[in-house]
Amino acid sequence: MSPKRKRSLLLGLPLLGFVAVLVVLGSGLGRDPSLLPSVLIDRPLPEFQAQRLDDPEQWLSPADLHGDIALLNIWATWCPTCYQEHTFLNTLRERNVAIYGVNYKDDREAALNWLSQLGDPYRFNIDDPEGQLGIELGVYGAPETFLLDAQGTIRYRHVGALDEAVWEREFLPRIRQLEPQS
């Protein structure tokens, strides 16, 4: 190698390193740092025993959510974004999407009122007054929506309001993948 080439290599390497750092840091710029990836993806629903919101006599466990590809929506009446999201959940219900709810750290009466006034898109709701199921699911801010396959395995988690755009971008392609090929 000629000294000149050696020199240009020595000068070029730091530049290359700098560009590499720029690319790595730059790719992080567009990301929302408040969105945490769920560790539960591709894992079964955590074990739980909880009361049904509209029927405290009835105890629910993960097996009650098996059978269909479904959404598990974590919501509360104290959560403004949940209110904003509710209309879209009703829309999904009209499209025959199976939705289960977790009423998270909420008051049962208030929650039942909410459902009778705004409509009830849920197959049923799991009552989680102390947020214990929330901890099991790694919930850090309502609303959150999990996508479950027919065996109750968690396939995806969305944090924040669900709307048409998110539904089409994040959920529909995954649901199509999960559906049995016919």
Partner: protein, 154 residues
Amino acid sequence: MRWIGTLGLLSLLALPVQAAIDPFEFDHPEQRQRYHALIDELRCPTCQNQNIAESNATLANDLRQRVYTMVMDNHPDSEIRNFMVQRYGDFVTYRPPVKPLTWLLWFGPFVALLIVTIALAIWIRQRNAEPPPQIDATDRERLSRVLAKHSGDS
């Protein structure tokens, strides 16, 4: 009236008061210590850049409660840490584990230091290997003349 001034000065010596009210009761001081070490080390998922000890978020409160229960049930620290990581991910700990995904984070600075050291060593060696600049006989004679003239000045 002098005693008032003395009292005022003495009050400056007062130790900072611990304002935090700990709602939990422990059987052993060791449990309290473990509890505090853990909540200092766990990061709040909702209110980022605060640990769960500092944060007032309800989730932080719930997680403190859970840490307390687990400490009182004599779960080892590692188990409590794992419990949180399995639910909230590596994010919840301020001490990320060493694994392929975090290799860059843990070893990157040392690798960078190594590369720079090697580059610097090569550069210095190269510089030393370069022959000193050559001057011819006429220049040398001129140089010694100039030097001789100026050494006479001082």
